[in-house]
């Protein structure tokens, strides 16, 4: 129904990619469904009562902090998000900060929160935060980066001129989709750090679970042989089941 599509587009694609979790799991871990009609009965429409507005921050949707931040009966002011079209900022990108006290400085994106149009630039746009302050202990001061809006806060850096530039998504002759700098028409490659997930830095560095995982060589092995048979026929043949009874004619209505 309407509500499912409404909920569906809330979590960004990059977040799902970063989490390395199935989309269905992310959905069921952050959704708050208070009532749902039973499914499979014609008399019940596919209706549900669920929380519609969630506050997305640096707490990722599948975490306990997110749930704590979005407890039932907590309502916060609406966040207005400027439409950005196609997302073009990835982890590891070199960007220039366009606002704030670090205006004009360049840095590397180290976190992307797509739900809020945020990027965090390493070591820039920072403030000090005191953590663990106690009556006896003065606390530890740590430097933490504040988010920057992708629409106004940062711009990608042109690899040739090293100046901030607008970009456009185009296709190469090989059919790959690339970001092209409008200042110098150079391709801005998507950095390797963009494929980093919560589990591993890059796909090659994943450590296999010996008991549970299938080896990559087994996965890519081609065992399919085209054959004029349905799945059931094929399985019956391979298991030596012979069936020569002819089913009676039946009618579908």
């Amino acid at each position: 129904m309407r509500i499912f599509s409404f909920l569906g587009k809330k979590v960004g694609d990059l977040t799902i990619k970063y989490s390395n979790l199935p989309e269905s799991y992310i959905k069921r871990s952050y959704e708050q469904v208070y009532w749902k009609n039973p499914t499979g009965y014609p008399q019940y429409p596919a209706a549900q009562i669920a929380r519609k507005k969630y506050r997305f921050t640096t707490h990722r949707p599948w975490t306990g902090q997110f749930r704590r931040q979005n407890e039932p009966n907590t309502h916060r002011k609406k966040v207005f998000l400027e439409p950005v079209g196609e997302w073009s900022f990835f982890k590891g990108d070199r960007v220039e900060v366009m606002v704030g006290k670090d205006k004009g400085k360049q840095g590397i994106v180290n976190q992307v929160i797509q739900e809020r149009n945020w990027v965090f630039v390493e070591g820039l746009n920072t403030h000090y935060r005191v953590v663990g302050k106690d009556k006896k202990f003065p606390g530890v001061t740590i430097l933490s980066e504040a988010p920057l809006l992708v629409t106004t806060g940062v711009k990608l850096v042109d690899p040739e001129t090293l100046k901030p530039t607008e970009i456009e998504w185009r296709y190469t002759e090989e059919g790959d989709k690339v970001r092209v700098s409008l200042a110098s028409s150079r391709i801005i490659p998507i950095p390797k750090a963009a494929e980093e997930t919560i589990d591993y830095k890059s796909k090659e560095l994943y450590i296999e679970n010996k008991e549970k995982d299938t080896a990559a060589s087994e996965v890519t092995k081609i065992t399919f042989q085209p054959k004029l048979a349905t799945f059931e026929m094929d399985i019956m043949e391979s298991m030596g089941i012979k069936e020569d009874r002819v089913p009676v004619k039946s009618y579908w209505y």
């Binding site: 269905s24 439409p83 679970n209 087994e218």
Partner: protein
């Protein structure tokens, strides 16, 4: 069962497919003799539980689900075996989840259930594709359960899934669609329901239209230098020129005109 699972759920997944120890080597140790038996180890009820090593684990990291393209290159026999491996894994996960619930422990990595389920759904999709291809070639039909577009008791369009009977429809006097046969669709009650239903639908679209219009006004107020083409792409039904000149979109300054 005295496994102690501590409170910590970390998620793991990657370029390796979750569950199946070596599909093809299982093909070798074939199945012809005694039905199919996908596990090489002996089986008792403890197969419903995870291996003992994992009982105290707080984080059982596994790869991702099988993708459609990976399953399309596998033979039917492999898919059949993989299905039962996944089924047993899913049973094991459900058992462990229940057991953790009973013992008031945290079930480690609950997303494993979703991964297994996704793999199973993908296997079903691939098998269905293959069967449809066979039936289309042989009979010209999909071989799927036939579905008909009908108007249901409330006067609303519905997909009616046909059922299989041993006698044709004209002989089957017990099979009737009462609401069709007795003309309920044209009855006053159904017409009234349909009118109110349409009104409700209209109200929903109207509210969505107003909500979007208001939202665009606020966006224009907050982000005056916004890319209007992107805005138009996101809210195609909103008259942006009209929204620009409303009071709500103006902001707290005197207009220049």
């Amino acid at each position: 069962m005295n496994f102690s699972l501590v409170k910590n759920v970390l998620k793991y997944a990657s370029g390796f497919c979750y569950r199946t120890k070596n599909v093809t080597s299982m093909c070798a140790s074939s199945v012809i003799t005694k039905g199919f038996h996908t596990t090489p180890s002996n089986s008792d009820l403890m197969e419903f539980f995870d291996i003992k090593k994992n009982w105290n684990e707080t984080n059982i990291r596994v790869g991702r689900a099988w993708k459609l393209d990976e399953l399309r290159i596998k033979s039917n026999v492999d898919l059949h075996k993989l299905w039962y491996i996944l089924l047993k894994e899913r049973n094991m996960l459900y058992t462990m989840e229940h057991e953790c619930y009973e013992k008031v422990r945290l079930f480690p990595n609950p997303e494993r259930i979703d991964k297994v389920q996704e793999s199973m759904n993908n296997i079903e999709t691939v098998i269905r594709e293959r069967n449809i291809a066979y039936y289309k070639l042989e009979t010209g039909e999909t071989g799927e359960r036939p579905v008909e577009d009908v108007v249901n008791m409330f006067g609303l369009p519905e997909k009616y899934k046909k059922q299989e009977y041993h006698i044709p429809q004209f002989m089957n006097s017990r099979w009737v669609r009462p609401y069709l046969e007795h003309g309920y669709i044209n009855s006053l009650a159904v017409k009234k329901f349909y009118r109110l239903y349409k009104e409700k639908q209209y109200n929903e679209t109207r509210r969505a239209r107003n909500r979007n219009f208001n939202h665009v006004q606020h966006l224009l107020k907050r982000f005056p230098n916004m890319d209007l083409e992107k805005l138009k792409a996101e809210y195609p039904d909103v008259d942006i020129e009209k929204a620009k000149h409303t009071k709500k979109a103006r902001g707290h300054f005197l207009p220049k005109y």
